[in-house]
């Protein structure tokens, strides 16, 4: 059984009089601990799909299950609490809280989303800071570190709640190539360490190469699936 099972997933946007079909029946099955990328040209529906998987939006048709739960009909509060428990997010613009330090940004979900006891909190945060190589900068504020470093912190924040799934929409679009590459490497390393499923979308062909499963989206339809290296996902 897959971690994420999508069948004939559809999404329409209403733009005034016009209905935009952003997803025209997309089906796929993602196994736990996969390292998956959705690629495609601009406007192909990557963000739309990731928003649906992330329970940030509701599909117009079809079904979507994440870890056995039907997430296509969650209301706003249920959605928030499902995301808080099960999904980590990495954003294109890092989106760290500017008033919180590196340490506090990673701590945020453990205080404000989940309620994790002090000892456990500290252990997890320090462990992740170590893993993403930001331990020395832990008391700096976001505006005192580089873009690549911010995204490392964001990776740590996404993982600190031990989610089953981390979603990243264009996580490297604002980074130069080598930094982008290192962030993707970091995400992969985290997948290996924490057995968390990572799904990211990108334009960047060189970055795409790092994914183990690559889905190609074109004009709201899945037009290809490429499995590389094999092996890692059973």
């Amino acid at each position: 059984m897959g971690l994420i099972v999508s069948e004939n997933l559809q999404k329409d946007y209403q733009a005034g009089e016009v209905t935009v079909r952003a997803l025209k029946g997309v089906s796929f099955n993602i196994e736990p601990a996969s390292f998956v990328s959705f690629v495609g040209p601009s406007g192909s529906g990557k963000t739309t799909l990731l928003n649906l998987i992330g329970c940030l939006d509701k599909p117009t048709g079809g079904s979507l299950k994440i870890g056995e739960a039907d997430v296509s009909a969650l209301d706003r509060k249920q959605g928030a609490s499902f995301r808080g428990k099960n999904i980590g997010f990495i954003f294109q613009d890092f989106n760290l809280m500017p008033v919180l330090t590196v340490y506090e940004n990673i701590e945020y979900p453990l205080l404000m989303v989940q309620e994790v006891p002090v000892k456990e909190r500290e252990k997890r945060i320090l462990n992740l800071l170590q893993a993403v190589g930001m331990l020395e900068q832990k008391d700096k504020y976001p505006d005192q570190i580089s873009g690549g470093q911010k995204q490392r912190v964001a990776v740590a924040r996404a993982l600190v709640t031990n989610p089953m799934l981390v979603l990243a929409d264009e996580p490297t679009a604002n980074l130069d190539h080598s930094t982008a590459y290192r962030v993707i490497e970091l995400m992969k390393k985290m997948r290996d360490e924490f057995k968390t499923t990572f799904i990211f979308s990108t334009h960047d062909q060189k970055i795409v190469g790092e994914a183990e499963i690559i889905y190609t989206l074109e004009d709201g339809e899945l037009t290809g699936k490429q499995v590389k290296g094999g092996g890692k996902n059973a």
């Binding site: 940030l56 995301r83 808080g84 809280m97």
Partner: protein, 412 residues
């Protein structure tokens, strides 16, 4: 909870200038209200104190109908010994009463053997009278601060107008209830400074002398002035006395007594009410200032942080938490304003107190203003500011909590 406060404070510090401006606005409002309340309050207390403690007493009891014709000082509306016994009996059972003083009030003629003029007199038992209106001795500007039988305390206007001074002998002539005229010689024991308000220009003699001048067969009392231990219990005691005396009825079945608080007996009650009304409006203005400034800041904060709100909502922060984040921020802003306002306000009040500002009330000059902030006022104002801060943040905070994460994240 601690975390909510940490985030709120940091966000307030993030826009230092704006926070400073808003907090100062609230601070200024609070200072203004505190200073106004303390000054007007001290003025009001002094005024009420002057009136009640120098002649009126806190409460008065009369035979029903007396107050309506008090200007004539009617002798036929006095309390007979039986009625007086009832009143004394009732007053002695109420522990809140500090003292009471029976008075015989009448009008007569005052003569220094060359000139004659009108005088209004109170026959009192000096010990009881001085206990009931303790500022009375301080009104005696010349002569002795006591009153013995055979002596008279005269108002200063009379002293000046008639050219008499303590130690002089004068005659008081009065017509009694039956129409017979009687006179008696008195020695002036002291001159009384006048006070503003009814009864402020009366003279005083001993109760026994009044009985003698009026040729009363039995002692009849015109009014009983009452002083309470705690002025704050005025309404309670008033109700209690009225209730205890309400059983007494005349032959016609009407109540025999009437009880009045100082408020009903002095026109200065209106001024006191006016001061209260002004205080109320000043508080209303403070509420408006706090409401508008906090709401303004919080609307800006939400507007500026749409993406942050989108982010925290996306990673699973529940709407209620987001709401409380912003409400706590407004709360903290109000709190900063009220704390600094209280500190500065109290400092200013303290300085005003040290400055010993004097003012005149009626004909009394050189009254020293003693502005004090009482804890109750401080708490009420603080509570108002805090509550209004929270209310003002509610709408922006609610808006933040209802934001769609995807929309919010898309905004720049």
């Amino acid at each position: 909870m601690r975390n909510l406060f940490k985030i709120a404070i940091r966000n307030l510090l993030r826009y230092k200038r704006r926070t400073l401006l808003t907090a100062s606005l609230i601070t200024i409002g609070v200072i203004f209200v505190l200073v106004f309340i303390s000054i007007s309050g001290s003025f009001k207390n002094m005024m009420v104190g002057q009136i009640t403690d120098s002649m009126l007493g806190h409460l008065q009891i009369h035979k029903r109908g007396y107050v309506a014709s008090i200007d004539n000082l009617p002798l036929n509306l006095n309390l007979k010994p039986n009625a007086m016994k009832k009143v004394e009996g009732v007053l002695q059972t109420i522990p809140e009463i500090e003292s009471f003083s029976p008075r015989i009030k009448f009008g007569g003629l005052f003569s220094n053997f060359t000139e004659t003029t009108n005088i209004r007199l109170n026959g009192v038992l000096p010990e009881k009278e001085f206990k009931t209106v303790p500022l009375m001795p301080s009104r005696i500007t010349a002569g002795k601060k006591t009153l013995q039988p055979g002596e008279i305390l005269i108002p200063d206007l009379l002293s000046k107008g008639m050219g008499v001074k303590p130690g002089d002998t004068v005659v008081v002539v009065a017509t009694n209830q039956d129409g017979s005229v009687n006179g008696k010689q008195f020695i002036i024991s002291g001159v009384l400074e006048g006070v503003t308000g009814p009864g402020g220009r009366d003279g005083y003699i001993h109760l026994n002398d009044a009985v003698e001048v009026l040729r009363m067969e039995e002692v009849e009392i015109s009014e009983v002035a009452i002083r309470l231990k705690d002025f704050g219990k005025l309404e309670k005691v008033n109700a209690e006395i009225s209730n205890l005396l309400s059983g007494e009825v005349t032959k016609q079945g009407k109540p025999a007594f009437e009880v009045h608080t100082w408020e009903k007996l002095s026109p200065f009650y209106n001024i006191a009410t006016m001061i209260d009304l002004m205080t109320f409006f000043i508080k209303l203005m403070l509420i408006a200032v706090v409401l508008i400034s906090i709401m303004n800041v919080m609307i800006m904060s939400v507007y500026e942080r749409v993406r942050e709100i989108g982010t925290i909502a996306a990673i699973g922060t529940l709407p209620g938490k987001i709401l409380s984040m912003f409400v706590v921020e407004g709360f903290c802003l109000g709190l900063i304003g009220i704390i600094t306002g209280n500190i500065f306000g109290m400092a200013i009040v303290f300085i005003l107190k040290l400055a010993k500002i004097t003012f005149a009330f009626g004909r009394q000059e050189g009254l020293i203003l003693i502005p004090t902030v009482n804890v109750g006022d401080l708490l009420v104002i603080s509570a108002i500011v805090i509550a209004v801060s929270v209310i003002a943040s509610l709408q922006p905070a609610y808006k933040a909590s209802r934001m769609e994460p995807i929309k919010a994240l898309r905004s720049v």
